[in-house]
Amino acid sequence: MNFVNRAFKNVTRKMSKSILLTLTFFLIGNLVIIGLGVSNASNSAKILTRKKMRAVVTYSLDYNKIWQYMDSIEDEDEREEFYNNYPRITLGEAEEFLKDTRVKTANAVSTNMWYMDHMKSLDFVHLNNQAEESYDGEGNCWIDDDGKERCYKSPTFLIKSNMFSSMIEFEDGEFKIVDGRFYNDNEINSGDLVCVISENLADYNGVSVGDDIRLSFAGTTFGGMEMSDDDTEAVFEVIGIFSHNHPITPDSSNFNYCAPYENPDNMIFMPTTSTYMASLAYNQKIFDYNREQNPDDEYYDEEKRPTEENMMENTYIENVTLLLSDPLDVDKFVEDYKNQLSQFTSLDANNEEFKKLAKPLDTLSMYANFIVSLVVINAVVIISLVTALTLKTREYEIGVLLSIGASKFKVIAQFFIELALVAILGFSLSVISGSLIAKKIGYKVLEYQIASSDIEEEDDSFDYYGEFDPWSTNYATEITLDDLVDEYEVTVSPLIIAEIYILGLGIVFISVIIPSFMIMRYNPKKILMNTN
């Protein structure tokens, strides 16, 4: 007749007490399951939606801070000094982030419109749309006041250049290398004239990996300067060919108005340093011309002349978008680096909209957790009281057990097992009913919460580029409230069931331990004298 056996006999032979306690635990279990179910569904919906979003963090200048600082400067010289040393994002800072194992790759992208060369050796992929009817790629020519023919060239290609040897677009499968390769660090560092073109552009022009293509990066006139075609054109080696999943078709929202350079087929990827090197001679000519015209202007001092050596210093990075491996790391990543940022830079997790939309779920989760906490506290109090009253009637039994040498541990263990048995039964029953109730209540409260939260979604009625904007350097995924609601599913997972039992046994433990010690602090004689 060990303590486990005694506990079992007490439960089975004192039926009315056991049924009442089972019912109590059943009710507690239902409330906790509903609370945990709703809270879990809210959190899961947020996690699943967040996982669907791109894990991007943007490192950029914080213009608000810069403007505030500038406003605070009263001294003119000091302000001039600040302008001369205007804050900028450096490649070194971006490379520091890349050392973090959570970062997959980074985009420090510049976007430029380039042109066909004067021989039109590389033609753009035609859509034969309305935009092309008034746009033949030759541009407009006119005779100026001096009687010279001036031509405005129409851009045909979009050059996307990066400072890193992989890009977010290629990492997440939007764009895929189908032949050759992407440019590497050596090519970035030396500014080699290499590029990656689209499959359609390659096919259209019969170009393969290893071939050279000629591109024009500027018009032949600049201010009063005359430029030759050679000045404004450069030859690039095609090192890779890509495919993409953003085809422009007659069904596309912007089909008729899509300029050639807005067609992803006419997008060309190359290192930012390649664009610098390609236009170096051109930029030097302009610099020299301007220095000649403005000999006293400090801006045109010799050390500021663009050269191969100062390529990196002259490569301007507007912002850096970091792609993390796990979307759930984004907030933590920003938090980790928050205190290491320089005065005028910021890290943005790009999830303000997500947080705004997730507010009803946050509120729901908060209320659900509050209810669970309240129920648990009440359960501890109620069960403790019930146990205390029950134990009071069993003081004599405690006295007898102690008088025959049973240890206090065994006595408490017996009471614990008794309560645990009915708790397990009550909670097991509540798992069945609770999951059904949680589902019904869960969706109702979410509906109510959304209705009362007064969320205004951003108006996206006009979306010129549809789902792919060739100009965009914002890689964050846009989400809607529906995305979140779609992921909201109230289920009683094995984890919740485990939580229920752990919580329940915790309640039982606390409920038994407190009244037990109230009785056990007496010696057996006092317990027996009290009862006798």
Partner: protein, 224 residues
């Protein structure tokens, strides 16, 4: 006969209404193996207190208790209660949701003393020896009469195979005939089985049937 229990300079007092009440005062006494003792004394003399202290249910303010020559403090009160002694109470103190035989098995499960393997059979035999037949042994204890419950309590006290049994007014709730039966059992246990029985009682009938009557007076035990 060999000494089984020795009390040395036991003192016990408590504060009552701001005054200290000395119940036991330098009490020393020795109990021998296989004898049936009755402790007598007027109400309030401290008989039950004495029993509680020597049974390890309470502790004295000072003094030592030796069981078979070993200090009970060194033995530990839990182990002393579990393996050395057993107690029969006036109110039987059986566990109400257990049957008679389960109450006997309860004592067996707690002791560290060596017991026969087939404990259930032993428990039934013990009960049977005290007149609790099988059909009654399987009943819940509150379905038994007072005398039967006290017999179950005595059977439980023997179940852990100890040699020292204390009883506090064991016949207080019983009629005269049953009282005599219970005392006869105690006598049998001491004389035939070598158990030492120490009974606290008011009853002359009980005391007259014991081997040794001891009077608790002025905080000390006096052999009569």
């Amino acid at each position: 006969m060999a000494e089984i229990l020795r009390l040395e300079n036991i003192n016990y007092s408590y504060i009552d209404g701001g005054y200290e009440r000395q119940i036991l005062k330098d009490l020393s006494y020795s109990f021998e193996e296989g004898r049936f003792y009755t402790v007598l004394g007027p109400s309030g003399s401290g008989k039950t207190t004495l029993l509680s202290i020597i049974a390890g249910l309470d502790t004295a303010n000072s003094g030592e208790i030796y069981f078979n020559g070993q200090n009970v403090k060194e033995l530990g009160l839990y182990r002393y209660r579990r393996n050395a002694i057993s107690i029969v109470f006036q109110a039987y103190n059986l566990i109400s949701y257990l049957t008679a035989v389960e109450n006997v098995l309860l004592a067996m499960s707690e002791t560290d003393n060596k017991l026969p393997a087939d404990r259930k059979t032993v428990a039934y035999n013990l009960l049977s020896r005290f007149g609790i037949v099988r059909s009654k042994a399987d009943r819940m204890v509150n379905q038994l009469s007072g005398g039967e419950q006290q017999r179950v309590a005595i059977a439980r006290s023997l179940a852990s195979n100890v040699n020292l049994i204390f009883a506090d007014e064991p016949t207080g709730n019983l009629d005269t005939a049953t009282e005599k039966e219970i005392i006869a059992i105690f006598k049998e246990l001491s004389h035939d089985f070598g158990k030492t029985i120490i009974v606290v009682t008011h009853s002359d009938t009980v005391s007259q049937m014991s081997d040794q009557r001891v009077l608790l007076k002025d905080g000390k035990l006096h052999t009569l």
